[in-house]
Structure formats: C-alpha cells, structure tokens
Amino acid sequence: MHSLASICIVLGGICIVSGFVIGYAHTLIMEEKLLTITQASELLGVSVDTLRRWDKSGKLVAIKKNGGTHRFYREKDLEIFASDLMKFASEWIEDGIDFPGTFYCPTSSIFNARLTKMEYALMLKPGFEKLFSLVTLVTGEIGDNSFAHNLGKWPDTPGIFFGYNLEKGVVVLADRGLGILETLRQVRPELPSHVVAVEVAFTEFVSGRAPEKRGNGLKTVREVVVEQPIDLFFISGDAEVRMQGLDKIFRVTRGQRVIRGCLAKIEFK
C-alpha cells in the first residue's frame, strides 16, 4: 500500500488551494486508473465519510462517472492534494479541520518511527550526506518538545502533525497543545507575553517540566539554524520566529494572528 509520506518525497513544485477539483477531459480520465473512495481513504488516511464531506464542501471534489453517484479519484490528484503541508497544519491548529491521517502522529513513538524513516531518506539526498543529521535533530527536538510539554495536558487532540517533502526540502510540524507561554508559565509565572516566552525558550536553559533540570532543545535548534543552510519559521500564540536566508538573525516578533499550540516550518535546499 502507498503511504503519503513516501509519495510526498517524489512530488515537486506543486501548490494547491482549497476547492481543488479532480478530473479534466473525459479522454484523460479514460486513460488513467481511478481509485474508489475506499482506496482513496486508505491512501490519504481519512475516513470515507470525511472524503464525502470534502467532496460536498468542494475541498476535494470526486469524479462521478457518467452522472453516477459513486465517487472516484485520480491517484496523482490525491498526491497533489496531500502536498500542501502548511495549509493542512495551519487549518488544523487554527480551526481543527481534518487532514490526511498519514501526517498524524498520535504518540511520540509513532513520531520517532516516522522521523527515522525521514532520516534514512534524507541521507540519500545529494548534498545532505552530513547535513541530514542536523535536519533530523531540528525536526526531532521541535516534535519531541510538543509531546514532552503536553503529556497528560492536551487540551483536545493529542499528538502532532508531521509532514515532509524532501524533494522540496520542507518539514512541517504542528500541535494543538498548550503553547510555549502556558508551558513556561508553569515555572516562570511572571512571563508577560508569547513573544517573551518564545524568546526565553530559544535562548535560555529553561524547562517547562520542573523539577526537570533544563531544556536545551530549542536553544540547540536556534544555534543550528543560525549556522547551517536550514531555515525556520516558528509560531506559538502570536509570537513568530523567522530565520531565513543567508544572514540569519534570531528575533521574535509579534504576528498578526494568534494560534494555539505550535507550528513550525523547516526548510533546507
């Protein structure tokens, strides 16, 4: 059976918007094998009911042959639909909207297994023979942070979104957890804002899991991203970190939107 994680690896340069419509000329459809709704649900990791709902709402429109009622999907279109990782992650943490289940890691052990799979694939990417370990470190620290700081405290959905496209050089992580500010206020109740909390998390040895000694994960992430050809976009609450381009400076700014939990996009070319 296919997995979207592996499919995403071979995708490239595709951006998709909501209201995605599947199916073009009739002749083209005839030449391609169509998947049933059950096969499509297995491929995307969502229920058949979710696919029916997405069809009705226009989010992922199915093909109906000769005016019939059965829904069909082109495999290539499902791959394209599943390639917009930031859209899925943002919609999930902001509005709780469903995303393909292949990106869902309900437990840290599942996250670790998928991270190892990504690590092995990245080792084979030309130019990443050494850098793969730092991309894995950055991804692993951000993902593990979500689990460590929300264990037994998830406000609603436990676990994280973890998607990647190694051809494009992008990893997206997201959680619907407490976020950095609420986590750190457990040990530093005086923290005034999301911006200050995120700055502390990325620059100081501090753990939201007192009496645990220290948290050094995000500090390492910052140091690695500053020095290496790895970009990072990170949001928690209304605090944003953008470390991009050649001359990267660590700075936390206040963004326009407030999100729950954390959202991270890691890019590497």
Partner: protein, 98 residues
C-alpha cells in the same frame, strides 16, 4: 571500557528514550571498576539530539567526571549536541584525539 552508543539506537532523539537508556545502562555501570575510564563511541549513531544526550551523558558526567571520555566523531549532530551540553553543564568534555 568502551560503550557503543549506537547500541541504544541509531537515531537518539527523545528525552524519554534517553532516560530509559540511562536506566538500562545502570547494571553495566555498576560493574565498572572505580578507576576505569568509560569511552563513548558515537560511530554508529546517525543523529544525536541534546534532549536524549542530556538524559544520558549529563548524569554520566555527574557520576564519572573526568573518567568519562568521548571518542571523536565527524557527525554534525554530535558536534552541535556536545557544544550545547558543555554550555549547560559548564564543563568541557574530555575528547580523545583521532
């Protein structure tokens, strides 16, 4: 004594698994003579994260101090992790030359 860190896994990421690895290593550690050095070999490790290492290497450092010796590695994640760990512990690890 030489410890191949890769025996605990090639991808050493989470704090939880680092803590488990340290507990599992206790039996071996108890059998180590008081005057013997413990050499840590990173050669089979693909990725080492600071969270994992903080749960394994930091308590080892507390117990063994300068009897803990790290073997050289060209792995970038090992370098990044050791640098932060040294800063956090305010200690410079003994690293054996190539």
């Amino acid at each position: 004594m030489k410890l191949q860190l890769g025996k605990f896994g090639k991808t050493l990421i989470s704090r939880e698994l680092g803590s488990e690895a340290f507990k599992a290593f206790q039996t071996t550690l108890r059998e180590l003579p008081k005057d013997e050095e413990l050499e840590i070999d990173f050669s089979d490790v693909l990725t080492l994260s600071p969270s994992w290492a903080d749960e394994f290497l930091s308590p080892l450092l507390d117990l063994m101090s300068n009897r803990l010796v790290l073997l050289p590695s060209d792995n970038l994640s090992v370098h990044a992790t050791l640098r932060v760990l040294q800063e956090a512990n305010e200690y410079t690890f003994r690293i054996k030359s190539w």
